[in-house]
């Protein structure tokens, strides 16, 4: 099943949650909606599921207008951040729920329901918990049951809203590897929402980066990391060193001093220079286009991390750099910094 979202607008009072969003999801994809809270990612997911209705725009499943159907008629499996399991039903009944509430004409008989639920419990590897109640399960187990419940109706699309958001770090990591493997096995078109970039980059085929109700960039994990389309994406994904620079006559200036760097077509005016921390080479004075003074040094593991003060427009800018331990740095040292790769974005974008 393919999903197409066209020019979706959604307002809550005066707040615009989605501001003209277009998105195409291919058959069998595992797509991540990534963004800070308030970026509209959950709202978009809920609109696709039929749990919220847009103020404008279209949602199409395989070309067919999905907005003409309610949530229950869309055959969408939805997994909630806080599981939303039915507390008064045991695990088996939770998973069976979607099968039992079918209209009588299409409902499976009791034996078939039993067989299907047991298959699903095997799929999520929790068959042994079938008699337990949700309150007796750990968070990770609950979320896997919620997933089995969503899969019971053989959804054409699987939507997951921050599925691992309520779990602790170790379980999160396990579950996301497991979700990846599960998707490889069942291949249902899936979208999951997350604010965790590591999760998005590790699990998804493609990542949609959102901010303030708009899509900033759509691309493979490699693309959004290596070629961020906007300043927001560069700042949001991966760790970046950001320097306030001025572009004048195609030249890049930092603190009034011209740097020997390409302006990359950025328009004249205040701009920002983005460098991945590992792309910033640290050497003796004169080895780089930027010069700075070491303020503080912290060493742990194979690296040392230093705060370096750079002359800036208003006073100075403090940045954090990493260097290997073999090069000794002390507070007060002057160093040269050379960005191996960098991006310049006008301040207005």
């Amino acid at each position: 099943m393919t999903i197409e979202v066209r020019n979706i607008v959604k307002k809550f009072g005066s707040f615009t949650a989605l501001d003209g969003v277009d998105l195409k999801v291919g058959k069998g994809e595992l797509l991540a909606l990534l963004g800070p809270s308030g970026s509209g990612k959950t709202t978009l997911l809920r609109i696709i599921a039929g749990l919220d209705w847009p103020d404008g725009g279209e949602v199409r499943f395989d070309g067919e207008n999905a907005l003409a159907r309610g949530a229950g008629e869309r055959h969408v499996g939805f997994v909630f951040q806080h599981y939303a399991l039915f507390r008064h039903m045991n695990v088996f009944e939770n998973v069976a729920f979607g099968l039992r509430v079918q209209p009588r004409a299409v409902r499976l008989n009791e034996d078939a329901i039993k067989k299907r639920v047991n298959e699903l419990l095997d799929l999520v590897q929790l068959a042994w918990l079938s008699d337990r109640y949700p309150s007796q399960l750990s968070g990770g187990q609950r979320q896997r049951i919620a997933l089995a419940r969503a899969l019971a109706i053989e959804p054409r699309i699987l939507l997951l809203d921050e599925p691992f958001g309520a779990l602790d770090a170790k379980v999160r990591k396990e579950l996301r590897r497991w979700l990846r493997a599960l998707h490889d096995e069942i291949h249902v078109t899936s979208i999951f929402v997350t604010h965790d970039q590591e999760e998005a980059l590790e699990v998804a085929n493609r990542v949609v980066v959102m901010d303030k109700g708009r899509i900033e960039q759509i691309g493979t994990p490699g693309e959004v990391y290596d070629n961020p389309a906007t300043a927001f994406v560069h700042g949001f994904i991966g760790e970046s060193i950001v320097l306030p620079v001025d572009v004048r006559d195609g030249r890049v200036e930092l603190g009034g001093k011209a740097l020997n760097l390409e302006s990359q077509g950025a328009g004249a005016g205040p701009s920002r220079l983005f460098v991945r921390r590992h792309d910033m080479q640290v050497g003796p004075v004169g080895s780089g286009v930027i010069e700075g003074a070491v303020r503080r040094v912290r060493a742990f593991g194979p690296i040392q991390r230093a705060d370096v003060a750079l002359p800036g427009g208003d006073g100075e800018t403090l940045i954090e750099i990493d260097t290997p331990r073999d090069r000794e740095l002390n507070p007060g040292d002057l160093v040269g910094l050379q960005p191996r790769r960098y991006r310049i974005f006008s301040a207005s974008t």
């Binding site: 229950g72 055959h75 039915f86 507390r87 729920f97 309150s135």
Partner: protein, 278 residues
């Protein structure tokens, strides 16, 4: 466990609070009840049996418990609907309606009784049209039933309301996205989640109606065997100085009420272990 930590509790004050609890409960609840039983023991068993199984007593008990049960059932259904409207929808006057629910709590029961009687009397606003249909409410068991409904409704509303407010809207969304109709969502997901609160509300409304005196006696007509409630029978016996007779009826009421509440509690416990609050 080492000997040094034995007997220590992380939460101090158990001895003090438990002592106060027992003392207080003894003075307020157990002592009067013990007096009730002691007074009853002045009767021989044969006398006791005769009083309790007399036609008038049995009818009074039947009226009190039977109508209280019916009233609690009606309150359970109507109270749930009221709660639903108050919690789930925003409409003008919602706060006012919410406050009105408490009136039966606060109103002196005699005032309620007089008001209901005036309303349902043959010439009353509701009594007159009902009389034309051939239904007589005031001074009949129907009147008792209406008074019991009146005083019981806030118990159901106030017990269920906070639980419904706290009910996670996501479970309804989950149910809908799994293809459940609205009816299925209400009956299979929402109501079962409310069951413990509904049972508590029912038990409270029932208990209150069984013991209700003030509002009922004005509207009941108080005909022995027809519209005489057990609490009134007790008062009548007291005014005749037949104290032991009065306490005998009281003991029966007490035991039956206790058994019913205990039963409801068990059902509730069962419902709760399946729906633990987390």
């Amino acid at each position: 466990m080492s000997g040094g930590t034995k007997g220590r509790r992380t939460l101090p004050g158990f001895g003090l609070t438990m002592g106060l609890t027992l003392t207080w409960l003894s003075i307020i609840v157990l002592l009067p009840l013990a007096g009730l039983f002691l007074k009853t023991f002045e009767l021989s068993f044969a006398q006791f049996f005769e009083i309790v199984t007399s036609r008038r007593t049995l009818n009074a008990l039947k009226i009190s418990f039977g109508l209280a049960f019916l009233a609690a059932l009606v309150n359970l259904v109507m109270g749930t609907i009221v709660v639903w409207a108050l919690v789930r929808y925003r409409f003008p006057g919602r706060r006012l309606f919410d406050a009105i629910v408490d009136i039966p709590f606060a109103l002196p029961t005699a005032v309620a009784g007089v008001a209901l009687t005036a309303l349902f009397a043959q010439k009353g606003w509701l009594g007159a049209p009902l009389a034309e249909l051939g239904i007589k409410v005031a001074f009949t068991p129907i009147g008792i039933f209406i008074a019991m409904v009146f005083i019981g409704i806030p118990f159901v509303v106030r017990t269920v309301q906070p639980v419904l407010i706290d009910l996670d809207p996501e479970i309804e969304e989950a149910s809908a996205s799994l293809g459940a109709s609205r009816w299925n969502t209400v009956t299979r997901v929402i109501l079962p989640s409310l069951t413990p609160a509904l049972l508590t509300g029912f038990a409270l409304a029932f208990a209150r109606a069984v013991g209700e005196y003030g509002s009922v006696i004005f509207i009941a007509g108080n005909l022995p065997n027809v519209s005489e409630i057990a609490p009134l029978l007790i008062v009548i016996r007291l005014s005749e100085f037949r104290y032991a007779d009065a306490t005998a009826v009281a003991v029966v009421m007490l035991v039956v009420a206790f058994l019913i509440i205990f039963l409801i509690n068990r059902v509730q416990r069962w419902a709760q272990t399946r729906v633990p609050a987390f």
